[in-house]
Amino acid sequence: MPEYLVKESSLASFFQALTQGRRLLAPQGQGDNCHLEVSTGPVSLDYANTHLSPKAVFFPQTEKLLAFHKLADKPKPHQYQDLGDKAEPTVIFGIRPCDAKGLSISNKVFQNDRFTDPYWKGKYEKTLKIGLACLSPSPQCFCAAMGGSPFGEVGLDVLAYPKDKGLGLRTLSPAGEELIESTSAEKADLASEIQDLAKKAIEAQGPLDAYQAIDASKLMDLYQAKHWANTAEPCLGCGVCTFFCPTCHCFDLQDEANDLGGVRMRNWDTCMSQLFTAHGSGHNPRPSKVERVRQRFMHKLKYIPIKQDGVRGCTGCGRCVVMCPANIDIRSVAATMAQASA
């Protein structure tokens, strides 16, 4: 796919063009206050990553799916009706490659081999994703160790990187190319520069794909490894890791109603909660935090790769590393798993 250049002087018109007929979401603010917000551009590139992952754009923490009336004079009382996907044409500028990869992993869950989730699909397909490559990784970043790259292209329509106070761009999909063609960006040959920058950024991160021993090992060997009780011991069971994870997609369906009617909604849920798997009978397949912590790491590093052609469910964004109140660091856990399976 071709590359393009946006000069500093044409940044304003570039972002102006992005907003034509759609809303532009871009990171605003810094540190813990960096969030995706509606923007008219130009977008400041001076941020590490958004505090929360961009999954909420496609999979809001609370999303109302269906609604019904109870009153007999309304049409179809006590019958659920669809509230629709609420999708609007959107372009996100500035998704980091780790998060874009995360979205592509969740996309295969929400649109799996048997079912398609219409609420996710509507929003996913109406959103163009422009990534921003990482020239200098943050201390908690480890995308390369998880098989990704600071210049990763998975899940993106366009990859951008800061260049001479302007932007370098590479389009990655026909929709992305059409979008960039509609702007003032000029074609340029940036292939070798991108290659060089990517190489440098990966080297700055430390070890490449460090956890291959996990991929090669047997599921049950990892599952039955001895370290899980120790790994789980400091866990508080709060689920912050799952709320911040770009690939955690679990949810709870809940009905809420009053005298007039009600809604069925889904809310983010977490496998760290005891209730998550508790049967009505009281039986619980994952009764203690040892099973629950194991589930989370096995899911990321073994179950998802089994289901998704070897792609790991952790993209190395580092949010859980920073957010875990007990400092359970997935890098250390993965290293322990790799060691246990060696």
Binding site: L65, L66, F68, K70, K76, P77, H78, Q79, Y80, Q81, D82, G84, D85, V109, F110, N112, R114, F115, T116, D117, P118, Y119, G122, L219, M220, Y223, H249, C250, F251, D252, L253, Q254, D255, E256, A257, G261, G262, R264, R266, D269, C271, F276, T277, A278, H279, G280, S281, H283, P285, R286, E291, Q295, M298, H299, K302, Y303, I304, I306, K307
Partner: protein, 282 residues
Amino acid sequence: MSSVNNPYMPYPVRIANIVVDSPDKSLRTFKFEFLDPEDEKRFEYLPGQFAELSIPGEGEIPIGIASSPTEKGYVLFTVNRVGQVSSFLHNMKIGDIMGVRGPLGHPYPVHSLKGQNIVVIASGFAVTTLRATVAWLLHPDNRPNYGRITFVYGARSPGHLLFREDWEAWQKRDDIDVYVAIYKMVPGWTGKVGFVPAVLQEICPPAENTAAIICGPPIAIKTTQPVLFEAGYKPENIIMSLENRMKCGLGICGRCNVGPEYVCKDGPVFTLAQLNELPPEY
């Protein structure tokens, strides 16, 4: 958006009948009729699949389908009163409107078992999807495709035996062997007495070219397996249905997984050979 393509949309149904199934009233069998006859065609299923019973304002519960697709005009579900939704459902009346969402999961592999003998082993109220299976197998369209069929069913007391009319009718047929047992003798009972594994041991059909389909509480499944092994059954030919807490039924919401497999989407039917390779999280 067309609701036909939305797997979260329940089909509206009317409660056509309710049968109280156990002396303590904890089990009721609900007969639903689709409000839109077209929905019945869309709800195309096979024995072993389940559906989410959806009560507006209360929530959903995943329940195995107790009727067989060969029975037209309605679907049957037997519901144990356990939590909020099932308790609410138990208080609903004939004529009430609610929803059924499905069919979900994979059925028992009845098509790939063609030409084989089948032994169906049911304990307690898990008999529901097996009742559907036997009804399906005995349908004139299907019966010729299978060899010998054996149905073993046990429950606590005669009052806890579901679908009495069905199995009494099957007992009169000569193309199925029916063994119904209660766990403890009560006056007036003329059938077998004992737990399902003991009954099975007594009458277990030879393993050759035979598949066993088991459904029941974990303890019954666990104690039945040794009997089958002893009779020479291989893990590939022991077929079971799992239960886990579920919400979406679509393999998305994440809670019912057993290792990489989602019970709702990839199950609930697994062979013992498959389960032997998976974490025991069920």
